[in-house]
């Protein structure tokens, strides 16, 4: 059975917090052995403990994804200690708020190195092992910002766009090698997810960053990433808001571009709370904040939206039923 995960070995980068953490535990729950990669060894070990509670091997391998040799060493070490490497989840990511012209160039470069080149390093590390095994899945946690854009996050948007293009190109190379069915490359494009990414990012905008609504819980992305490992698909959105925005962008690009700019200016950065410039976790990890969610109310928001949708659907059903059952008033011909 191709799609079962028990006994498979999965590497998750960026596993110390946010989506990576929840995804690692989700894979462990499915019975896969997990290897966790991030910069903070202590936080990583805590996540590994959580995974081991599901009776699977869990190894913490601290590394910085911008270091290609370290990433290759993770892959080598995984195969040496666990015997195989089946799924590589590229997920480690940082963000940077501020205008393109104002953010320091080295911070801009650092975002591209982590979010894009980090994924390239992961692919280059995992592929030789996939080729040797004759099977493997590379899962890239991209973003809806791979296909749409927002202001004040130039580097992040560029890196996510790059990931999607790179994944596509890689898929083409594998197809030419005749390995399209054996080695799969998948990209997930989540909407706004409730993680500490927003508050951990570098910020030169002067305004405090927050999660732009609607916000989804990280469990939703974890479920998608796990399902991509089982039933690989090319590109998948996570969260209806992502799909809808991408569709609007395709239908009316110029208008949607300006609307998204206005929405981000309203809801992504706060007007009333000003913060000093800071490079966040770009060059060194922050001490606190190894939680899965970022405190942005993703679960609550999702629950509220579902109740609202159910209420509207229920009311609509009630109205339709009432209309259908209405007694006909008098004879038409009279």
């Amino acid at each position: 059975m191709r799609w079962r995960l028990r006994g498979k070995v999965v590497v998750v980068t960026g596993a110390s917090s946010g989506i990576g953490r929840v995804t690692a535990v989700a894979f462990a729950r499915q019975g896969a052995a997990v290897v966790l990669v991030a910069r903070r060894a202590a936080a990583l070990e805590a996540v590994a403990e959580e995974c081991r509670a599901h009776e699977v091997p869990a190894l913490a391998m601290p590394a910085d994804v911008t270091d290609e040799e370290a990433v290759r060493e993770v892959a080598r070490s995984t195969v040496e200690r666990l015997g195989r490497l089946d799924v590589w989840v590229n997920n480690a990511g940082v963000t940077l708020w501020g205008r393109v012209e104002e953010v320091p160039m080295e911070d801009f470069r650092r975002v591209l190195e982590t979010n894009f080149l980090g994924y390239v390093h992961g692919a280059r590390a995992a592929l030789p092992h996939f080729r040797e095994q004759g099977r493997g899945v590379l899962v890239n946690n991209a973003s809806m910002l791979s296909v749409v854009a927002e202001p004040y996050a130039g580097a992040y948007v560029a890196a996510k766009h790059a990931v999607l293009g790179f994944a596509s190109s890689l898929r083409q190379e594998l197809a030419l090698d005749g390995l399209a069915r054996q080695i799969r490359v998948c990209s997930a494009m989540p909407a706004t997810i409730d993680t500490p990414l927003f508050q951990h990012g570098g910020n030169y905008s002067g305004r405090r960053a927050k999660a732009m609504r609607p916000v989804y819980p990280p469990e939703r992305v974890a479920r998608t990433l796990v399902n991509l490992a089982r039933w690989p698909r090319r590109e998948v959105f996570v969260g209806p808001a992502a799909r809808m925005l991408a569709w609007q962008w395709r239908m009316a690009p110029a208008l949607t571009e300006r609307l998204t700019a206005w929405m981000a200016d309203q809801d992504q950065l706060e007007r009333h709370r000003l913060v000093p410039a800071d490079d966040g976790n770009l060059f060194a990890p922050v001490d606190d904040g190894d939680t899965a969610d970022g405190g942005w109310g993703g679960r609550r928001g999702q629950a509220r939206r579902r109740v609202l949708a159910a209420a509207v659907a229920g009311a609509g059903l009630l109205g339709a039923t009432a209309t259908a059952l209405r007694r006909p008033r008098g004879d038409r011909w009279s």
Binding site: M1, R4, R6, G7, K8, V9, G31, A33, E55, V56, P57, E80, R81, L82, G83, R84, D86, Q133, G134, R135
Partner: protein
Amino acid sequence: MELTSRWTAAAGTLVHSRAGGDAGPPLVLVHGLGVASPYWERTAAALAPWFRVHAPDLPGFGHTIGPREALDVHQLAEALADWMRTADAWPAVVVGNSMGCQITVDLAVCHPELVRRAVLVGPTIDRTAPGALSQVFRLVRNGFREPPRQFWIVARDYARAGLGRVLRTFLAAMAEPTESWYPRVSAPTLVVRGERDALVTAEWAARVTNALPHGGLVTLRGAAHTANQAAPEALARVVRVFAEEQSAEPAGGTP
């Protein structure tokens, strides 16, 4: 006694095994075609007080991911040998069932240092049947003689392995000339046959025992092909007595 799941990196994959018992010599239970460690659960629990029992899932079966191509008997034996060395489960009393007997014999001939003693429960392939199709008929007939609970355990493991792998491994088992290997098994070997086994006839069991240099035959009452399912306590008793024997010649008979 409680069994726990272990994961060991061996044979180029991550091998899942059920293990129990913390005292005594190592004992390895080798499953047959399509099945995996679950159907050894009761026998393993009965043996755990006296041995360090291991029931690995061979690559492609149970929870152990295997390569895309199905492994043949010799490759499965090599995988088992690699796992035994890595998991430090040797020199062991190796107990095989059905195709597991073929794997055990291969292991005993190619890696004699790993096998202290061997127990072959229902040694396939019984060549008194003319061909592959008749083996299948016998298997179906035997199915009606097995305890009903076995069906679901076996069906689930067959589904895990996948029909393609099961069929290809069956053909590999049919092609394997295990009969020519029996005379080369140097370890003391006990052949156990369930009285009601439809897949392996009494005549074949006797022929196997005679071909083995140090062979003995035991018949279990009330059991069919998978005696470990039908009579786990009786099988455990037989294995324990055989493993603890001092002499090289195993005593045969019907307990």
